[in-house]
């Protein structure tokens, strides 16, 4: 299996090189995207095959890399879950890109980086030593950075690219430190060696904190999320889908690999920061999604929310595991993994929808869209499934993972630590708040883009998107529905990975009542998405049929009523800003929202202006002080550039003495 997987990864990297050679060929984009899609499908086979056959972990070593180490590659159940996730997301994005890529003005700015990006992500998942992991991680970061810069002439894209580069660099540096600490002074960079070594509690805490910062910056944890809502939307939509749907999950994998596998048992208190940061990320992410006016940026903010939900689940799993409750840890971890998979499905779908709208209208701003359900009915239908899934409505897939997570939260009184007992219900409340805010956010997203009347000429003249894109979106929508009504299969599929991480699993779901989700025995509750769907469909369908049959089926089209004063101007509709107003007001302190009204002086007939500003607290309380400190330090250190040669020599001598003294004391 591992050989097959590595071959696919290397093929994807080779495809990148081929793409540079194919510049100018008219069929290049179809060839590259088509082969990427096929390779990703093969990845699904490898991943799902490993999980289904319960294959043992397999590894191999190729003599590239550090001379004494080479590159270890490794495929176990945990990698396999994420390889499957990557395969599905990558195949859908590539199939979508076959159609979407036709509209690109400069395809050679995307093509050489795209398959390599996929390949690098596979290698991160397969890495069996710290060196391979970090190298692939860095390639993944750099190639995605290049993809973000596709439309590099736009000023904001360049800013986004810069911010991304800084944050990615910071993240990799922190990961480097984390793995350095894990490897210890002996330099055992092989994962097997790290796993075998004993780590002191202080070291484990430090490593976990570094992983939170390093992997968290890539995943978008608050307050390291600031790059995500600008960089993800700047890329072409299929790349946005990959970055949001898949790359953030690769970061989750990195965290899981260290926290659950390499680090060994950790103290319970270390789950607290994971849970707290996760819950805060969930709420802050979706709050900002609620007030933003740019379709793709809304989706990026919602990615931050979902990452927060996943990390909360991981934190709960850590807490349960450290208190020796493996079955409950398995419940929380299953919720987290399932949510990662679900989020990949619906977020990729929604980014593709945003891309289709962008192609049809050229607009991302919600306030220039509207009424697209008439012009793009198929896209609108698939988008509706996507928003229903992401707002966790039964019977779709988003609800299943949220339900499992709530059940895990409800088991927290069993935890022995009073601190956690107080924390977890509050976190449950925050998660519920995030879920409700997500509903408001996506009613606004769908309602303003697809419903109502067109707010611009381009929206009025939009046309349906191409067949490749529709097929890719349709596939993902179908998976959203299937994963929602029959979640048991996915849970059974993931069970080996859960077992690997926490040493237990939730009961086998695919038994007699295969359509019902029955988590661990402690929960004493069940949920059947399949039956809910059947009930809703039958009762809704039967009533509709009866009403049409027995009552009246007459229908007349007339102008809108609107209380007798319909206004012909589409501007009078509720738009992105006005829909967000109640929530913006209620949550103003959290959003840093300020409203300004500028009135003209008396007698002046010009219009008054109403402005709204929101401010991310992370900038004010985290980044601005940091930037100020760096500026202060650099201006002070600037003096060092203008010294005489004697002083420089003194400095060199002084630092040499200092280092040698330090070394002596150390020894």
């Amino acid at each position: 299996m591992i050989g097959f997987a590595v071959t696919i990864a290397l093929c994807l990297l080779a495809l990148s090189l081929a793409a540079t050679a194919m510049r100018g060929l008219s069929m290049a984009s179809v060839a590259i995207y088509g082969s990427s899609a096929l390779l990703c499908l093969a990845l699904v086979l490898v991943g799902a095959g490993t999980l289904l056959t319960h294959a043992d972990a397999s590894g191999m070593r190729i003599p590239i890399g550090l001379p004494w180490l080479g590159s270890h590659l490794h495929l176990d159940a945990l990698s396999a879950v994420f390889v499957t996730l990557l395969g599905v997301g990558g195949a859908a994005a590539s199939a979508y890109a076959i159609g979407y890529g036709r509209h690109e003005h400069e395809p050679h700015r995307v093509l050489p980086f795209y398959p390599g990006f996929l390949g690098a992500m596979v290698l991160v998942l397969l890495a069996g030593d710290a060196f391979t992991f970090l190298l692939s991680w860095e390639i993944m970061s750099l190639l995605s950075w290049a993809l973000v810069l596709t439309n590099h002439r736009a000023d904001e894209t360049r800013k986004a690219g810069y911010l991304y580069l800084v944050m990615a660099g910071l993240g990799t540096m922190l990961l480097l430190l984390a793995f350095g600490l894990l490897a210890g002074s002996g330099g055992g960079y092989d994962f097997a060696a790290i796993r075998a070594a004993k780590h002191s509690p202080a070291l484990a805490a430090l490593v976990l904190a570094l992983m939170m910062l390093g992997a968290g910056s890539k995943a978008g944890l608050v307050p390291l999320h600031v790059w995500l809502p600008v960089a993800h939307p700047a890329a072409p939509s299929h790349v946005s889908a990959l970055m949001s749907g898949v790359m953030t999950k690769v970061a989750v994998y990195g965290f899981m690999r260290v926290a659950f596998d390499l680090l060994g048992p950790v103290h319970w208190s270390m789950s607290v920061p994971v849970i707290v940061v996760g819950a805060l990320t969930a709420v802050m992410g979706i709050l900002f999604a609620n007030v933003d006016g740019d379709g793709k940026r809304i989706l990026a903010f919602s990615t931050i929310e979902n990452i927060g939900v996943i990390f909360t689940a991981l934190g709960l799993a850590l807490a349960f595991r450290s208190s020796d409750m493996p079955v409950l840890a398995a419940l929380a971890l299953t919720a987290g993994l399932l949510h990662a998979m679900n989020h990949m499905l619906f977020k990729s779908l929604l980014f593709m929808v945003a891309g289709a709208v962008l192609n049809a209208t050229g607009r991302r701003d919600l306030d220039e869209l509207g009424g697209l359900i008439h012009r793009m009915p198929k896209t609108a239908f698939l988008a509706l499934i996507g928003v229903m899934a992401i707002t966790a409505l039964p019977p779709l897939n988003g609800f299943v993972s949220e339900w499992l997570l709530f059940q895990a939260v409800l088991q927290s009184p069993k935890l022995p630590q009073p601190g956690l007992q107080f924390l977890v219900p509050a976190v449950g409340g925050l998660l519920a708040l995030a879920a409700a805010l997500a509903a408001a956010c996506f009613v606004r997203f769908f309602g303003v883009i697809f419903l109502g009347r067109p707010r611009s000429d381009v929206a009025r003249d939009a046309v349906e998107t191409d067949r490749w894109s529709l097929a890719a979106m349709g596939g993902l929508a179908l998976l959203c529905v299937l994963a929602g009504i029959l979640p048991g299969f996915l849970i059974d599929l993931m069970a080996p990975a859960v077992d690997l991480a926490v040493g237990a699993r939730v009961p086998v779901q695919g038994g007699n009542s295969w359509f019902t989700l029955i988590p661990v025995a402690e929960v004493r509750s069940s949920y059947s998405g399949f039956l809910v769907m059947v009930f809703v469909a039958i009762s809704g369908g039967a009533v509709a049929w009866l009403v049409h049959r027995l009552a009246s089926r007459r229908l007349r089209r007339a102008p809108a009523w609107d209380c007798g004063f319909p206004n012909a101007d589409p501007v009078t509709q509720y738009g992105a800003g006005s829909f967000a107003q109640p929530i913006r007001r209620v949550m103003a302190p959290l959003l840093g929202a300020r409203e300004t009204v500028t009135m003209p002086p008396p007698g002046d007939m010009s219009a008054a202006r109403h402005g709204v500003q929101t401010e991310d607290m992370a900038w004010r309380f985290c980044y601005q002080p940091m930037i100020a400190a760096v500026f202060y330090a650099t201006t002070r250190l600037n003096a060092l550039q203008f010294l005489t040669i004697r002083r420089y020599l003194t400095l060199v001598f002084g630092s040499l003495i200092l280092l040698l003294t330090g070394l002596t004391i150390w020894n």
Partner: protein
Amino acid sequence: MELIENIVLQALQMLVVLTLAPGLTGLVRKIKARLTRRRGASVLQPYRDLARLMRKEVVLAENASWLFRVSPYMIFAATWVAAALVPTFAIGLHFSWTADLIAIVALLGSARFFIALAGMDVGTSFGGIGSSREMMIGTLAEPAMLLVAFSVALVAGSTELSNVVAFMASGDVGIRVSMGMALIALTIVAIAENARIPVDNPATHLELTMVHEAMVLEYSGRHLAMIELAASLKLLLYVALIGCVFVPWGIAPANAGLDGLIAGLLLFLAKLVALGFLLAVFETSIAKMRVFRVPDFLGVALMLGLLGTLLLFVSRSL
């Protein structure tokens, strides 16, 4: 044989909630009218309204999409299924394990989702104002409701309503502070969710403070009938929920005989009348709030829900 019996019972439950729902709405209206010294329409008036609306033709706005026409049935179906999963006269029904309290909340969330989308479909300013305010109210009411569900689940050890009711009726519960808080929180949520005074006024039309009515302004004929029926069902659902969790006595246990079922049904009717009366008294004794006071009102529910849950984490006997 047992399966058939179970299915019949479940179908009976669905029919009971469906037939009683407009009656409850009519009853509350009647009592409110009597309390304000009006004679009021008959309790049966909502049934007549529904029949009239069903017979009328639908006048559809010119740019209404298919979503606008499908939504009433979706809203109705989601609410009906949710209402059918709340124990009314019997527990242990065959399909009660299909969805627990969290799923019932989520089903109501689906109904809200579709009604808010329908409000935005025609592209009028009234529809938008209703949708955006409804979502704001939902943003606060839903977490409060889930926290109530948490406290109840922590006491009863399950989120499955049949299990909850069986535990509550067993008499091991006693009087608990946390359950008192949960009751107040649930009542506030129920008032907000059902667009009752002081959050919204079900009797008003053409007012800038309206929320529910603003969303459904463009609906007519059979579509409006479905939405009105769904609104009645939602009221019945919340009344039944408060009844079954906090006044669980008399609900027929699983495998009860025919007389047990009949007694359960009669007691359920009595509970409906009593709680409907309380609702009417509450509504007539309070004034409508400004929209931006509603978050404070719902904030109380949120805090009580959280406090109740926290108390239970401190001690399971509080």
